[in-house]
């Protein structure tokens, strides 16, 4: 134990009293108004509303009418560092996470150069220790340069702080290569997170293959390009008794494959993104490149399958796949645009507005799934309990805001929810015991 795997800039531990907010922690069953006292960055006391006196020098936050959750954890973001700092940096990406209510995020390795060696991981750790607003972990590549032919030095990378491994953005095409990684996992541990796509089926596809791609004349990415790989890699994981996690699931066939292999005892898990849970390929009729990402938005039946999978636990967690791109890179014809959308600042509000408010998913379930990514990576789950480090998000669920109207904290603006009015404003985020984001009610709420 005790290899450090999350890194952040030094911050003053919070001395904080949050008074009278409605506390909700789905795992402990906590669901009541109360006071939470944070001392030296840890939860010191939980009491009835108004019961806890404010210690000298403590920051007092009136929480009445607001909700307090364990802060969110995102196992899948792109911080574009090193190499593409014009899209995002460790500083801006983690600030965006703080604004979205996150206490931890995990950066993907498809950087320039690829994060595939311990020295580069060491440099990123150092940079995170200077710049990261919220704790950030790193998943180096499974294969060197993400090209699928040679394993990275996984054991050395684990010793250097790797949370797990992924070739995200690309599949591990050769089954034999993934099998080697699974065998090596027995030596060094670390989750293998997989972007599932059979390139012989997805080809030059730019959107979901179906009626909308037929209408638009754009090359399609069929659902089976993902689901056949989910099934294949589940079989490999079961055979090697390894553990794999399927990133950004997008279609009904993948959810079915995941459920079947779980039932068969394979150690497999899955994540879904807010955009796949709330949008369909109909959005691409606008030809707006903000709706271009990989995997693509699929049909209403696929969206419903993801919701059902999230509800019944087939899909363990929500991950944004936050993928910033500069404006000029996205302001090109759809087929030319890079894949990816931002997501950290909109994840909870869009799920709350589109799924919780209409009664599709319960609020405790959404909060649980937005924090569950930590446990998949063998990290402590954010929780509201005495003696735990303070990882808290305080939200105004009555307030609304227009996405993009006041810009973004992220360096990039490629949100697929731009212009939407969403319910749920993050008032305060506490991550690893420090206050990392704070917004005043008067400046954020719209009429």
């Amino acid at each position: 134990m005790s290899v450090e795997r999350l890194f952040h800039a030094p911050a003053t531990p919070a001395e904080l009293l949050i008074r009278g907010a409605h506390m909700l922690d789905p795992r402990s069953g906590l669901d009541a108004p109360g006071d939470v006292l944070v001392r030296d960055g840890a939860i010191a006391e939980i009491g009835a509303p108004g019961a806890l006196p404010a210690p000298d020098g403590a920051d007092v936050v009136e929480g009445e009418g607001l909700h307090l959750f364990p802060a969110f954890f995102d196992p899948h973001v792109h911080l574009r560092t090193p190499g593409q700092e014009h899209k995002e940096t460790l500083a801006t990406g983690t600030a965006s996470a703080a604004a979205g209510g996150y206490c931890g995020i995990v950066a993907m390795p498809n950087t320039a150069p690829t994060l595939d060696s311990a020295p580069l991981l060491g440099a990123l750790r150092d940079q995170a220790a200077r710049e990261a607003r919220v704790p950030v972990g790193f998943m180096p590549a499974i294969t060197r340069g993400l090209v699928g032919t040679d394993l990275t030095e996984m054991a050395e990378l684990r010793d250097a702080g790797a949370l797990g491994f992924t070739d995200d953005g690309r599949p591990v095409v050769a089954a034999g290569m993934l099998r080697r990684a699974l065998q090596y996992q027995r030596l060094c541990g670390g989750l293998l997170a997989l972007h599932e796509e059979d390139p012989s089926l997805s080809g030059h596809g730019v959107m979901h293959e179906g009626a909308v791609s037929a209408r638009l004349g754009m090359a399609g990415i069929p659902s089976i390009s993902e689901s056949t790989m989910v099934a294949r890699d589940s079989a490999l994981a079961a055979y090697e008794q390894g553990r794999v996690h399927f990133q950004h699931l997008s279609c009904v066939e993948s959810v079915d494959a995941l459920a079947a292999w779980k039932a068969a005892g394979a150690q497999v898990s899955g994540e879904a993104s807010p955009h796949h849970l709330t949008l369909t390929d109909e959005a691409v009729l606008s030809l707006d490149s903000r709706f271009k990402m990989n995997p693509p938005l699929r049909t209403e039946a696929d969206r419903q399958a993801l919701i059902a999978g999230l509800r019944d636990g087939t899909i363990e967690c929500i991950a944004t796949d936050h993928a910033p791109h500069a404006r000029h890179e996205k302001e090109v014809p759809f087929e030319e645009a890079p894949m990816g959308v931002t997501g950290l600042e909109t994840a909870f509000p869009v799920l709350y507005t589109d799924l919780v408010l209409p009664g599709v998913l319960s609020l405790p379930l959404v909060v649980e799934r937005m924090t569950a990514g930590a446990a998949l990576l063998d990290l402590p789950t954010p929780t509201i309990a005495v003696d735990q480090p303070a990882n808290l998000v305080l939200l105004d669920l009555e307030a609304s805001w227009e996405v993009g109207a006041r810009g973004y904290v992220s360096k990039s603006a490629n949100s697929c929810f731009e212009g939407r009015t969403l319910r749920g404003v993050v008032r305060l985020t506490v991550a690893a015991g420090a206050t990392v984001h704070r917004a005043e009610a008067s400046t954020e709420a719209l009429a």
Binding site: E209, G210, A211, V212, S213, A214, R215, L216, G217, M218, G220, P222, L285, S286, L287, D288, H328, E331, V332, P333, F334, E335, E336
Partner: protein, 326 residues
């Protein structure tokens, strides 16, 4: 932005980006005007002064002979000043983005920008960046609305109306913007559209456009019109068909497959001996030359609709009465 589902249709058309920008009445209005321009085309002096002093920019990012030349001629016959830009000879090849190019051209205050691009949605983007009227002259494999209009024009001249007519579109539907615009336009004009070709070249879900799918030409005899698409050589390399020989055996439209009552169309250029046999091309049923001829007057009517159609008193002294009355 213009919706591609047609829900944003208005009486005043600002751009022609998709056939969905037009309802049936709009198509008929444009084609009636095209018919009146056809009379002008029969005169010794073929110009009308409708767009005198206005600038039309043709921005072509793909090689094109008939579309670019007919747009150029259409604009000139309306007395517009015409600037034609081809990607191969412009700063486009130096890496200038579409947005930068459009902003540069906007400095000339064009009344219209006609754009051909290898990418779906390029015309929509241009419309977002300029005050000029934008005409989609083909965007990727998405749409080619003026081709569909000239196809409807050609058929209306021959058949009167398309209502109830059976039109088969044969060949590489997957890669054809012409097919997509034609399916929409023919269906909007009341025809029953069937697409037929190798299953590898029929896009999954195409029925949603309002057509049916036939995997073979066995029932081709039921068609009133056979519209044959170009079969490109590179499709073989991508393994869509095993060989052009096998393709031709199954899907070539030739004298043996064509019935005497059927009309034959093709958007050009034709691969003789592949999708069409020489005897079919040269048969009196073929409307291929009429399609090309229709291109100029239909594009004149489109430019007129966008640029002069909303004027209260358009300058039409040289145009026939039908235009002034429209």
């Amino acid at each position: 932005m213009t919706a591609v589902d047609g829900s944003h249709r208005t009486d005043v058309m600002r751009h022609l980006l998709s056939i969905d920008d037009l309802d049936r009445a709009g198509i008929e209005r444009i084609l009636d005007r095209a018919a009146s321009f056809a009379e002008v085309a029969g005169r010794e002096i073929k110009k009308v002064p409708a767009l005198r002093g206005r600038t039309v920019v043709n921005l072509f990012y793909e090689a094109s002979t008939r579309t670019s030349s007919s747009f150029e001629l259409a604009a000139k016959r309306l007395s517009a000043d015409v600037v034609s830009i081809r990607a191969a000879t412009s700063s486009v090849t130096k890496g200038e983005s579409l947005k930068d190019t459009v902003q540069t051209l906007t400095a000339y205050d064009p009344a219209a920008i006609v754009i051909r691009s290898p990418h779906a949605g390029a015309a929509q983007l241009v419309a977002r960046w300029t005050d000029a009227a934008v005409v989609n002259a083909g965007d990727g494999k998405h749409e080619h609305p003026t081709q569909a209009l000239l196809d409807v024009y050609t058929l209306r001249r021959r058949l009167g109306a398309l209502d109830g007519k059976r039109i088969w579109i044969v060949g590489d539907v997957l890669h054809s913007r012409v097919a997509r615009s034609d399916i929409l336009a023919f269906a909007r004009m009341g025809a029953e559209v069937t697409v037929s070709g190798p299953p590898t070249l029929i896009p999954r879900g195409i029925e949603a456009l309002g057509c049916s799918v036939a995997p073979t030409l066995d029932q081709l005899a039921e068609a009133d019109v056979v519209y044959v698409l170009r079969m490109q050589n590179e499709r073989m390399n991508e393994a869509y068909v095993p060989s052009l020989r096998e393709y031709a055996t199954r899907y070539q439209v030739n004298a043996a497959r064509l019935r005497p009552h059927q009309l034959l169309m093709h958007p050009g250029p034709v691969n003789r001996g592949v999708e069409l046999s020489a005897d079919a091309i040269d048969s009196p049923q073929a409307l291929i030359a009429q399609q090309v001829e229709a291109g100029v007057v239909v594009r004149m009517a489109v430019l007129y609709e966008l640029l002069a159609g909303t004027n209260a008193a358009p300058a039409l002294e040289a145009a026939p009465e039908a235009v002034a009355a429209a």
